[in-house]
């Protein structure tokens, strides 16, 4: 294969591979749907706090935990707190994020709302694995000696009954849910334990058993209605065999796909919120499902990612420019269609780009009226041409006469139709006018050079081609595909390359050479 052919095939293969690759990457990795009207489901999680200040005009300082999620999974985040200074930071140990709010002169009840929008399955950032020695030391520090003894005894019992880490966890969870362990609870809680105390007990127990563990406070996806702080589900995440294993501390059930089931709000034993200068009255969590359009989803995702290829995506352009590009990106496909019509089928057209321009002009005039207008004005223009030809003018001034009469004609049409209260007359905007005059100029030249019959054929062919293009350009699904998956343009180029080497007969030729076919039949 010679050098040129090699280059051709290399280019062709490159285009196909990169076009398909880019498109699949966008679909699979970035999750962009094939369907233009697919709704994306996003979840909006809400926590509402009501705070009463201790005295009038006191300074309120409020800390509350907010979800610590993988960057890019957070689509949107807001804090609604009138008059508060707000900031969101990572905690010192890096395991959580906390919102710090303050207000200097708070006199009446304050409502603070934090909300976060996520795609379903948003991932929380796993906490660091607690060092077991530190954890044990912490337990020793916190508990009194009698409590410690109770704890250690229980731990020993459980260890004797368990074969592996999973069983250790299961037994521990069963233990702390059992109110019948009177001795244990007497020491640890002075009676019946609260949820919080149960949770802490589990944490210490597992620590003593040598299992690093962290408590997860979660808001489930499917829950209907509000959840109060007290009723917030808690999971325990235990680290053994080089991985985290998550269990529901109420049921002991292992949680297999935690991110699909609930949003992890914060990790650890601390309280959800702390306030100074006031009192937190009510805290409630809600999870609401929202369907949003593909466009909005892309825009949100684009905002949150802010790095990677979306930085240079068309979505960064202002909305108006985006709308224009939606059309411009359809032009290559239309040109491809024209190529197919001309080279494979054999439709005669006025150049390659002209039918595309006419199709774009139809957008202003609407298809049917556009065809009527185009046909009418072209017929008039060519009739003027026939007359002016008799005057024996130079080519270019003759063209000038034709174009001027066409412009006058179009103005008359607009006025007459407006008087007749036909709205269509006003759809002759600048762009269609320009395209029409260009078409008449070129048709006139074709008439000069190749005769009237050719000119008519070309006019009809162009009209047909532009109608086909119109249908494709203003198709909602196609617009979505080319705007979202620019890789498709590479595939269009590949198709054009292939047509560039097409040596076969045109459809029209199969009929043009009819006489030859008839002869071969006779053979």
């Amino acid at each position: 294969m010679n050098k040129v052919n090699k280059q051709y095939y290399i280019l062709l293969i490159l285009l196909i591979i990169s076009g398909v690759g880019l498109t699949l990457y966008q679909h699979i990795k970035l999750g962009l749907s094939w369907q233009p009207d697919d709704e994306n489901t996003i979840w909006k999680f809400n926590v509402e706090l009501q705070i009463t200040p201790k005295t009038t005009n006191s300074t309120l300082k409020l800390n509350l935990f907010v979800p610590n999620l993988k960057r890019g999974d957070v689509l949107d985040e807001h804090i609604s707190a009138a008059g508060f200074g707000k900031i969101i930071l990572h905690t010192d140990d890096g395991d959580n994020k906390v919102a710090v709010l303050s207000k200097s002169q708070a006199d009446e009840k304050q409502t603070v709302i934090y909300d976060v929008s996520v795609a379903s399955g948003a991932q929380f950032i796993a906490p660091q694995v607690p060092k077991i020695n530190h954890a044990k030391a912490h337990v020793r520090k916190t508990l009194e000696s009698r409590q410690l003894i109770a704890l250690l005894t229980t731990a020993k019992d459980i260890a004797e009954q368990s074969a592996d880490s999973g069983t250790l966890v299961g037994q521990s969870i069963r233990f702390i849910n059992d109110d019948g362990n009177l001795y244990f609870w007497q020491e640890m809680a002075q009676g019946l334990p609260t949820n919080k105390q149960r949770m802490k007990a589990l944490n210490y127990l597992l620590t003593e058993l040598g299992l690093p563990n962290v408590m997860l406070h979660v808001v489930p996806y499917q829950h209907q209605g509000d959840i109060s702080l007290n009723n917030l589900p808690v999971w325990v995440s235990v680290y053994f065999e080089n991985a985290w294993h998550i269990y529901d501390i109420k049921t002991g059930q292992a949680i297999m796909h935690p991110n699909q089931k609930a949003l992890v709000w914060w990790v650890g034993n601390q309280n959800f919120a702390q306030v100074s200068g006031g009192q937190i009255k009510i805290v409630s969590f809600t999870a609401a499902r929202q369907g949003i359009s593909q466009e909005r989803y892309l825009a949100l995702k684009n905002n949150s990612l802010k790095q990677n290829i979306y930085e240079f995506s068309l979505l960064n352009l202002p909305a108006q420019t985006q709308e224009i590009y939606k059309i411009i990106l359809m032009v290559p496909l239309s040109v491809l269609i024209i190529l197919i019509l001309r080279i494979i089928i054999g439709v005669p057209t006025l150049g390659t780009f002209m039918p595309v321009l006419i199709a774009l002009a139809f957008r202003d005039t609407s298809l049917l009226w556009g065809i009527v207008l185009f046909s009418f004005v072209v017929i008039c223009g060519l009739s003027f041409r026939a007359y002016f030809e008799k005057l024996r003018l130079l080519v270019v001034p003759r063209l000038g006469m034709i174009l001027t009469t066409v412009v006058i004609l179009m103005a008359l049409i607009s006025i007459v139709l407006h008087k007749m209260e036909v709205a269509q007359g006003l759809s002759i905007t600048l762009f269609p006018m320009v395209i029409l005059t260009m078409s008449i100029e070129r048709l006139s030249i074709v008439w000069d050079e190749r005769g009237g019959v050719e000119a008519v054929k070309i006019a009809l062919g162009s009209l047909f081609a532009s109608t086909v293009c119109f249908v494709f350009i203003f198709n909602h699904a196609l617009q979505y595909w080319f705007f979202t998956f620019p890789g498709l343009l590479l595939l269009v180029m590949a198709a054009m390359l292939m047509i560039g080497r097409y040596r076969g007969y045109r459809l029209t030729e199969l009929y043009r050479f009819d006489a030859l076919i008839k002869k071969s039949k006779g053979l």
Binding site: V453, Y502, Y505, L510, F513, A515
Partner: protein, 311 residues
Amino acid sequence: MWWRWLRLKQMGVLGINNRNLSFIQRYNTRTHYPLVDDKVKTKKLAQAHDVKVPTLYTVIHSEHDNKVFSKLIQNRAQFVIKPAQGAGGEGILVVTHYINNRYRLSNGKLLTEDEIKYHISTTLSGAYSLGGYPDKVMVEYLVQFDDVFEKVAYQGVPDVRVIVIKGFPVMAMVRLPTQASNGKANLHQGAIGAGVDLKTGQTLHGVWHNEIVTHHPDTLHEIEGVTIPYWKECLLIASRCYDMTKLGYLGVDLVLDKAHGPMMLELNARPGLNIQIANQVGLQRRFDMIKPVLDKEMDAKARIEYVLSRL
């Protein structure tokens, strides 16, 4: 529909896509196109290579030349005024007599010298050239047509077109003007194309707007069976036009003059495909025949011999 494709493929019919890709692009170098698009250049080239062409009396380049028009034509009563870059036969004045101080055209019209100068002026300004560009005007010898075509031509100039691939003449047809074509030998405008047997120079049936015809609609005479005189010389001229222009896919238009015999009228670097219908043979088929010796160094005579011996 597919069987149509197959049939055409079997007959070796050349489609327009294949013509453009495998022949015009491959064998015609773009830089040589001006040699055939500008008729003045073609003529000068032909004269340099000893290829018979209608004598060029003068070329009018500007208004100044136009002013001395009468001196330039030196009291000739018969000549043809032609735009150098004209298309489709437009702008040609065929002057046959000088009578009553006027020039009489072949269609009967009478023009004064001033009217002719006006026509030349408009031609110079590009009235008849492709794209309206300024042009030159050629004044050349009026071909006295050989009677052989009298019975099958109506009021115009029949010409012989030979398709020459790398110097090998592969197919030929005669273009016969009709009333429909206004006396022009232009197939698109309604002239009849009659295939020609390359070995004998005899016409086959005709094709008119893609359909086979056997009789001329205006003279009512049978088209088939007319023998073109000096046929071997026609082929020779056609073949040598390749040596002259180095265009590998060429259409050579010849006319037959009573006194001078075959002369090259003009050349075409993008000849059409209807010649296949006129001959009922495919160009690809003929090309396959000459393919083995395509690049061999052969002179015009040898190339013609090769083709004729294999038909």
